[in-house]
């Protein structure tokens, strides 16, 4: 009994780790609605956001079930920043369109590796999510890598802008492959892959596109951000303030 509840707690926190990354990125992409450079891109970003939100709902609902009380909404709207376990990369501000694309591209490549492996999870719920999410992610990657090449191999200005964004966001990628305590336990239980094992596949995917986009891979920085451990940049607080204000102001409000 003791062992079972410990395992279920690992599963709950692991579901939050993956789910929060999708949730926060969905919220960021949602900020583009009505502001994207073209109507078609507006819809494309919103579509991706909705895919990510769907993943987050599935995972947060499961986490709520495992903790034996509350709902996905409680987890999304009533938790404080330090309780969120998302990667630091996804909470970074949108910047210009190029910066949003770079962030998306780096995450998409990582989610491809993650969901590929997660289909073999010992947890049927996670394997089921991964099987659905991998199809969505393949399209996301097609979209973001397509734009990486267009912008990178585009005009002088577009090249400069994405290279700058890449240089600025690269330092957040290290975190993807450094296991948090939750991920370590999850890997030991066969719930999820060891994050370090995703690094090689991610790097080769990313490098292939960078080369086509005539972009330079920035130097690796060993410093790791700790979003997965609940240590966030100030950007997350602002994002949550906007995302949570309705439920915080009118608890339980429905529409």
């Amino acid at each position: 009994m003791e062992a079972t509840s410990a395992a279920s707690d690992v599963l709950r926190r692991y579901a939050l780790t993956i789910g929060d990354t999708s949730l926060i990125l969905a919220q960021r992409l949602g900020e583009w609605i009505g502001h994207a450079p073209a109507l078609e891109e507006d819809l494309a970003l919103a579509n991706i956001a909705l895919d990510l939100l769907g993943q987050a709902r599935y995972l947060l609902s499961h986490a709520a079930q495992l903790q034996g009380g509350g709902t996905e909404d409680d987890l999304a709207f009533l938790r404080d920043p330090q309780d969120f376990l998302n990667l630091s990369l996804v909470e970074q501000p949108n910047g210009d369109f190029g910066e949003t694309i770079v962030r998306q591209f780096l995450i998409d490549a990582w989610q491809l590796e993650l969901f590929e492996r997660l289909q073999q999870s010992s947890e049927p719920k996670l394997a089921e999510l991964a099987a659905k999410a991998i199809k969505e992610t393949r399209y996301h990657f097609r979209f973001s890598s397509g734009w990486m090449v267009r912008l990178g191999d585009g005009t002088e200005e577009s090249h400069r802008r994405v290279q700058t964004a890449l240089d600025a966001l690269w330092r957040f990628t290290h975190e993807m492959f450094v296991a948090s305590p939750v991920e370590q336990e999850a890997a030991a239980l066969g719930i999820g892959p060891d994050p370090a094992s995703l690094a090689a596949g991610w790097a080769s995917r990313v490098e292939e596109v960078l080369q086509e986009a005539t972009l330079k891979r920035p130097a690796d920085v060993a410093y790791s951000w700790h979003g997965k451990r609940g240590q966030h940049s100030e950007h997350l607080s602002r994002l949550l303030a906007e995302m949570q204000i309705m439920q915080r102001t009118y608890p339980g409000a429905q529409w």
Binding site: L39, E40, A44, N47, F143, G146, R150
Partner: protein
């Protein structure tokens, strides 16, 4: 003119709703090239499971009849009702006609 040059070219979008049905014109989108046109068509016109296949074609590549020629092109068919296959008695035994 400069404004027009800044716009991506226009593409017409055709969607096949189900296997076995024909592609139908659903609207148009702007895109920089064919690859992007397919993606934009997917994102704009298949969000609610509208289709299983997409065609896009540059709007500029469509050759259209001139509305001014409508009289010459379409009027002559008006009084030729005998071209409609409605003058036959269909035997009851014939199904699926």
């Amino acid at each position: 003119m400069t404004q027009q040059q800044k716009q991506w070219p226009l593409y017409e979008v055709f969607i096949r709703a189900r296997s076995g049905l024909e592609h139908k014109h659903v609207g148009s989108i702007h895109a920089a090239d064919a690859t992007m046109a397919i993606e934009h068509a997917r994102d704009v016109y298949t969000r609610r499971q509208e289709g299983v296949s997409i065609w896009v074609v540059r709007s500029a590549d469509i050759i259209a009849s001139d509305p001014a020629d409508a009289d010459a092109l379409f009027e002559p068919a008006k009084d030729k009702v005998y071209r409609h296959p409605t003058f036959y008695e269909i035997p009851d035994e014939v199904k699926n006609l």
